[in-house]
């Protein structure tokens, strides 16, 4: 490479007066280790905390029995079922959903180059909701059995993304601003469709569960719902991790990405697919839980910086831990009633969002 050192610039370079100090960051290994310890502890808490009067010792005993396949006395079966068949799969699913939402948030934010974006802003979550509610209320896709809900959510998320993409696209390409505006409009459209289906539902119980589901709930969690969701989230994480460097380039702009050898159109299409798959899988088991995909990537960015290689190591773990605790809270705050998860994430998320808007001069991606 040619060196430029022998050439002094016309004027010695000036520094911006009193520039802010370098961003202070938490060492990555420390943070990841901390989160890797916090996650199993949180999961155990998810199994141990709840409305029925089980002691911690008992809960951990049943959890251990479940994990190791140990034996329990016949009179303990109902308690064992509470811990191993209800609470623990629910905590695991919360972790999967939290990790998925955080990862998708990172992907969407890089895709539209804006830290205020999440799957909701692009209409993906509400699109997935249309499919999932069609299954819940009308029994659509019945032939697919246990896969019906996930497949319907995935397919409608994909259709929603394709629609947003097709509408936002211009002959000159896809600008983040158009994508965001189109996504927001579609979000209202899809929400309206879901609401209509809820009102049109014949039996009240389906409508009630659909309403609950609109605000997010893990109340229906059991072991059978874990594999599909976990598979989709893991697959998504692998793809995003694989693309971390390209995400950095994309975050700097389409032109820059192209100049760095990354095809922005192709990367965006890949991200569309991954985002739809993960969002579909997550929405199918938990409903529409807002703000996790917005807050967690942002918080992670403040801790480790914007480099997606670090971001994708931290955000999913943090999202998992956060949602396990949000779910625990949702079960104990108004026990024995359950609070929808969306209420709690909004309670934490809205103030964060406002702070975020105040801190930054938000341009919403520019055009």
């Amino acid at each position: 490479m040619a060196t430029l050192r022998d050439r002094t610039p016309a004027v010695p370079h000036r520094t911006t007066s009193g520039g802010p100090p370098p961003p202070r960051r938490v060492p990555l290994p420390l943070l990841v280790t901390g989160l890797c310890v916090a996650l199993p502890v949180s999961l155990a808490c998810g199994a141990g905390i709840g409305a029925s009067g089980l002691s911690w010792g008992e809960a951990l005993h049943y959890l251990w029995a479940g994990l190791t396949g140990g034996s329990i006395a016949p009179d303990e079966v109902s308690s064992y079922v509470i811990v191993w068949e209800l609470r623990f799969p629910r905590a695991v699913l919360a972790a999967v959903v939290g990790a998925g939402l955080a990862a998708v948030g990172v992907a969407v934010q890089a895709m539209v180059r804006n830290a205020l974006a999440d799957p909701f802003v692009l209409g993906i979550s509400s699109g997935a909701g249309v499919g999932a509610n069609a299954v819940l209320i009308f029994g659509a896709f019945g032939a697919l059995g246990v896969w019906a809900l996930s497949m319907a959510a995935f397919l409608s998320a994909l259709a929603a993304m394709a629609l947003v993409y097709a509408v936002a696209r211009t002959p000159r390409g896809l600008t983040p601003l158009r994508l965001l505006l189109t996504g927001t409009a579609m979000y209202y459209g899809f929400s309206a469709v879901t609401t209509f289906m809820v009102f049109a539902a014949e039996h009240g119980e389906a409508a009630r569960s659909a309403m609950m589901w609109l605000l997010g709930s893990l109340g229906g969690a059991n072991w059978s719902s874990v594999p599909i969701a976990a598979g989709a989230v893991l697959g998504g994480l692998v793809h995003l991790g694989w693309s971390a460097r390209r995400l950095n380039a994309l975050a700097m702009g389409d032109e820059t990405a192209a100049a760095l050898g990354v095809d922005p159109g192709r990367l965006r299409r890949e991200l569309f697919l991954t985002t739809a798959a993960v969002t579909g899988a997550v929405v199918a088991v938990s409903g529409a839980i807002g703000f996790v995909g917005l807050m967690v990537p942002h918080a992670a960015r403040m801790l480790v910086g914007a480099d997606h290689r670090r971001l994708l190591a931290v955000a999913p773990l943090a999202g998992a831990v956060l949602l396990v605790w949000v779910d625990i809270l949702s079960r104990v705050v108004l026990a024995p009633a359950e609070l929808p998860l969306g209420v709690l994430t909004a309670a934490i998320g809205v103030p964060c969002f406002v702070l975020l808007m105040r801190r930054r001069t938000c341009t919403f991606g520019g055009a």
Binding site: R7, A10, H13, R113, N114, P171, R172, E255, A259, D307
Partner: protein, 257 residues
């Protein structure tokens, strides 16, 4: 490395933005594209750094067809500073420069010592070594441009493509950026607005108007009062630079209506 643009045409939604443009930048030459706004300079450059696929024609690097290479391969030979507002993510300067290594790295490989050395050298080379730990968004316009040049150098390219690299910079920063580019020794293809800067820094100028090349040659031969009246619609006088003798232009005020 020699760049050949061979009868490139770009058509977007029925509009011809670039028509039949051919030009050559010889190895190590600094070649400027000048022309009014909307004349097709950026569109042409976007074809060279592969943000846009030409409708017809080819771009060749030392005779090799750019479009036949995969994008990583071409990014190892050719780096660019596109004209674009940068995103709001707060990357550090070191992270921005490290992106220049992308075409050289595997998807999940860690940064090697060589990557780190190359980035450090590129930062020093662009006179931005002292900025390494700053947040990119906190930099001044001139500092940002230095860092982006460092990122381009970290690509270890042989060709550098710049789209209006002096936009929004004060005069000292403009001169700094262009002297950095000139000193890189790379083959440079740059769009420039300021004709006097172009005359001072370019070996060869191509004047583009309405998507076509109007004339080409050394600044001294190209920047004539007749051409400036035809293409830019302004009246100008030529004076030699008192020290270097390079042609410089003095523009007349438009007649008051």
């Amino acid at each position: 490395m020699q760049v050949d643009i061979d009868t490139v045409t770009v058509e977007i939604s029925g509009t011809r933005l670039v028509e039949d443009v051919s030009l050559r930048a010889g190895s190590g030459q600094v070649v400027g594209l000048v022309g009014p706004n909307g004349s097709g300079k950026s569109t042409l450059l976007r074809c060279v750094y592969r943000a846009l696929r030409p409708t017809a024609g080819a771009v060749r690097l030392d005779g090799d067809d750019l479009l036949a290479m995969n994008t990583r391969e071409s990014a190892r030979r050719l780096a660019a500073l596109p004209q674009e507002a940068v995103a709001e993510f707060d990357f550090t300067v070191a992270e921005v420069v490290a992106m220049g290594r992308l075409p050289h790295q595997g998807a999940v490989a860690r940064d090697t010592d060589e990557d780190r050395r190359t980035c450090a050298a590129a930062l020093e080379g662009a006179g931005a070594g002292h900025l390494a730990h700053r947040g990119f968004l906190t930099l001044s316009g001139g500092e940002k441009q230095r860092v982006l040049i460092a990122r381009a150098l970290a690509q270890q390219p042989q060709v550098l493509v710049l789209d209006e690299p002096t936009n929004h910079l004060d005069i000292a920063q403009q001169l700094e950026v262009l002297s950095l580019v000139r000193a890189s020794g790379l083959t440079v293809l740059t769009a420039l607005h300021d004709l006097n800067l172009a005359a001072l820094h370019c070996d060869l100028l191509h004047v583009i108007d309405g998507g076509r090349i109007v004339t080409s040659g050394a600044p001294h031969d190209v920047l004539t009062p007749v051409l400036l009246a035809d293409v830019f619609g302004v009246r100008a006088h030529r004076v030699p630079h008192p020290e270097t003798g390079a042609v410089q232009l003095l523009f007349d005020r438009l007649p008051t209506q």
